[in-house]
């Protein structure tokens, strides 16, 4: 192989590899990137069950029900307008509780209950999950039906 062609060949290989990387990334992103929804946008978007998504909102007061095994819970997440039931099995994060903000990773089950693989709770004033930063939680907390009966 002539030296001149060698550099060209290497450059072509490098470019081809980068294009390949872009294609791999694009195809994996199409399948695996998970979108963030609130209960309201979740209904509007008509997400199919089984697709990985994130759900964020406020844990509705009085909605946490702990299962008999001591490790599974269900609760309702809501925003200003709608609510969504969530089931989770695992150790809940610190400061997870009624009235706290939460972001859940998971997917909708066939029965439209959101099955969470992991929960991220709002820790304190200094730390808000990114997705919740610009959602006004105070409104959800104040609506009448979120009060404990």
């Amino acid at each position: 192989m002539k030296p001149k062609h060698q550099r060209l060949l290497l450059a072509v290989i490098a470019v081809a590899a980068l294009v390949g990387a872009g294609l791999i990334a694009a195809s994996a992103l199409r399948e695996e990137a998970s979108y963030f929804y609130t209960p309201t946008t979740l209904v509007a978007a008509n997400v199919e069950p089984g697709k990985a998504i994130r759900l964020g909102g406020m844990v509705q007061k009085g909605s946490i029900v702990r299962g008999g095994d001591g490790v599974s819970i269900t609760f309702t997440v809501r925003d200003q307008r709608r609510s969504q039931k969530v089931a989770y099995r695992g150790i809940t994060p610190d400061l997870f509780g009624e009235g706290s903000g939460v972001v859940a990773d998971g997917r909708l089950g066939p029965d439209r209950v959101f099955v969470a693989d992991s929960l991220l709770a709002k820790h304190d004033e200094n730390y808000v999950p990114r997705e919740l930063a610009d959602i006004d939680m105070s409104a959800a907390a104040k609506t009448k039906d979120t009060l404990v009966p």
């Binding site: 192989m1 990387a21 994996a28 990137a33 001591g70 999950p129």
Partner: protein
């Protein structure tokens, strides 16, 4: 007073960096350069001044001088001493000061030690370094002053994020910074060599120890960070594809590629433009890493500063430096002559394959990390998590491992696979037999853990093959370094594959006296007691893990910190040679039925992950030391001959 002296030292150091840069510019202009003799002293002064400023800040943390804003915000009078000191860099401003201090001290070290390359190239390299440092000094002085005063001084200080109050913190960030900054030196060398037309083996030999050193530190830093996340977060995972983890992995991938290609340039005088390009990319990645972590664009325990001004400052620096560097590359690359030719089937070809696979992995990680940020700018909230990264990177890593079975055995310039046919058959046999054996005993295992185990077994043999037929005493020491590093990769991949393929987990709630089982272990909760620490209180489980008649006590804790208020889990780990038992206890649930949530994992061979990483770093260290020894020996021989 000390704070003001520290601040003055930073200003003076910045002026030294400016002097270094301007003196370097005169070199380009008239060829001779009147100011060039000033470059080295300026580099020494800059190093000394920065070191002074850094120790001044450490002193302020040591005496808890709460009239300094940074100390007040990040320290607390009740904090244990080690965390007071580590607090120096456990925050945005302090960590940036550490960054420039390492940068300046390395510059001084180059000025003092480097004698192999031409004075002109060395001066240009130091000038580029001065230019880099200048940007970070500006950043420090104009938007992140670590010595800012607070009037009036508070009484006790705000405290440090409890997750960061850990011995891991004392070492993790500085190690990563050494790595990042080492890559900036490779960058300066590359630009310096481009500007002075010295891209060749001599330049590669001068750059190599810095790349190797940076890579060793990055390897240790990433492994330490991974282990820290594993035992401190209490989630049982060792890699989360968190953007901040990616920010450290990307420079490592680039450095690994660079490390291999710079060896080709140093020994074979090939891959010239390629190596320069990788040096630029490696530094761009460490800048991108700094940007991702420091800009507050991500939420994470690492993101200290949520301040858009700082984010845009770092972004501007990053775009300026890498942009300029790529412009210089485009303008000057025509002057870099084509290196020595080689056949595709050769050691050089193998290293090109290594570089290509590493670059592709790097690119898909970069895209996955930046995509959510780009999407958010367009109004979509997207998260890209482990499913994406595993799917996109693992298949390429499999190809990389396959190439590694053969690459190091090839000869330079050209080779013939026929020469290696027995090894090729042997490697294929190991792969096939181990796949079949694993599949027979564990048919439920996923394809990637299966391939990972098979490939790591084959690589564990392949790694040692370069020593075959050599006289061990006459083998160059760096070859042993390579062998150990490649073997370490096999060990690490084996741990990853075994952990992801065969972990078992039990999640349950136990009342005192009850027990739970995981993977043949029976774990009994005897009691739960309150415990008090320096600045926290905790509930501590008193547990006994039993298997085959052997009993081991375990004490997982759930800690409550007060400054700032926060809970953390201290997992109890029981290490056996073939894995770890990982036990987490949670605060009682609000219902208060007397049961405690307990999570048990058996993680087979999980410690191999970090053990392998230590071997990889050790291999690097052996290669580095071996080269240094040889260099001093050679220079002694030269001296003797000239006398």
């Amino acid at each position: 007073m000390i704070a003001e002296a520290g601040l003055a030292a930073i200003w003076l150091a910045a002026s030294m960096a400016l002097l270094q840069f301007i003196a370097g510019l005169t070199l380009l202009r008239d060829g001779a350069g009147q100011l060039v003799p000033l470059i080295k002293p300026a580099a020494y002064m800059q190093g000394a001044l920065c070191t002074f400023a850094f120790f001044a800040l450490m002193w302020l943390f040591y005496i808890s001088d709460l009239s300094v804003l940074l100390v007040a915000n990040n320290s607390h009078i009740d904090k244990p001493l080690i965390f007071k000191l580590a607090g120096t860099w456990g925050n945005h401003e302090g960590s940036m000061l550490l960054w420039v201090t390492i940068l300046s001290v390395s510059g001084a070290a180059i000025a003092f030690l480097e004698k192999r390359i031409e004075v002109k190239t060395l001066s240009a390299t130091l000038a580029v370094q001065g230019f880099l440092a200048l940007g970070f000094f500006a950043f420090l002085l104009f938007s992140s002053n670590p010595f800012e005063r607070m009037v009036p001084a508070p009484i006790e200080g705000a405290g440090l994020n409890p997750l960061l109050q850990d011995v891991g913190l004392a070492f993790h960030p500085p190690t990563l910074y050494f790595g990042y900054v080492g890559l900036s030196i490779a960058f300066s060398f590359a630009v310096g060599a481009l500007l002075t037309n010295q891209v060749g083996p001599a330049f590669a030999r001068a750059m190599r120890p810095w790349v190797l050193g940076a890579w060793i530190f990055l390897t240790i830093g990433i492994a330490a960070g991974s282990y820290w996340a594993y035992y401190e977060l209490g989630w049982g995972g060792w890699w989360f594809w968190d953007p901040v983890e990616n920010a450290s992995l990307m420079p490592w991938l680039a450095a690994t590629a660079l490390l291999h290609s710079v060896s080709v340039l140093a020994t074979r005088n090939a891959l010239r433009a390629w190596t320069i390009m990788l040096a630029l990319v490696a530094f761009a990645m460490s800048m991108a890493g700094t940007f991702l972590v420091r800009s507050g664009i991500l939420t994470s325990v690492h993101a200290f500063a949520v301040d858009p001004e700082r984010g845009s400052f770092i972004l501007a620096l990053m775009l300026m430096y890498t942009g300029l560097a790529f412009v210089i590359f485009a303008l000057r690359i025509g002057t870099v002559k084509q290196g020595e030719p080689f056949q595709l089937l050769s050691r050089e070809g193998g290293i090109v394959a290594n570089n290509i696979f590493l670059s592709v992995i790097l690119a898909v990680i970069l895209i996955g990390t930046l995509y959510p940020i780009a999407a958010e700018a367009l109004g979509d909230k997207i998260s890209v998590g482990p499913p994406y990264f595993n799917k996109a990177t693992v298949p390429i890593a499999v190809l990389l491992m396959l190439a590694l079975l053969v690459g190091p055995l090839l000869r330079w310039r050209r080779d013939d696979l026929g020469r290696l046919k027995y090894w090729l058959i042997g490697a294929a046999a190991i792969l096939l037999l181990s796949c079949l054996a694993i599949w027979k005993f564990a048919p439920q295992i996923g394809i990637f853990p299966l391939l990972g185990i098979a490939l790591s077994l084959a690589l564990a043999v392949a790694a040692w093959m370069p020593l075959r037929g050599r006289k061990l005493l006459r083998t160059p020491i760096p070859v042993f370094g390579m062998v150990i590093a490649h073997f370490g990769l096999a060990v690490s991949v084996f741990g990853m594959a075994a952990e992801s393929g065969f972990s078992s987990e039990t999640l349950t709630a136990l009342a005192p006296g009850e027990s739970a089982k995981v993977a043949g272990w029976e774990v009994k909760l005897n009691d739960v007691n309150p415990v008090v620490g320096d600045n926290w209180v905790a509930v501590e489980g008193e547990m006994i893990a039993a298997k085959n008649g052997n009993e081991f006590p375990l004490h997982p804790q759930s800690r409550q910190f007060f400054k700032p208020p926060m809970q953390t889990s201290e997992a109890a780990l029981l290490t056996r040679w073939n894995g770890q038992l990982y036990v987490v206890i949670a605060q009682p649930d609000q219902e208060g039925d007397g049961r405690w949530q307990v999570r048990l994992w058996w993680k087979p061979f999980v410690t191999f992950i970090w053990g392998g990483a230590i071997l990889i770093a050790l291999g690097g260290a052996i290669a580095l030391l071996g080269r240094m020894v040889r260099r001093t020996k050679n220079s002694a021989i030269n001296k003797w001959q000239t006398e």
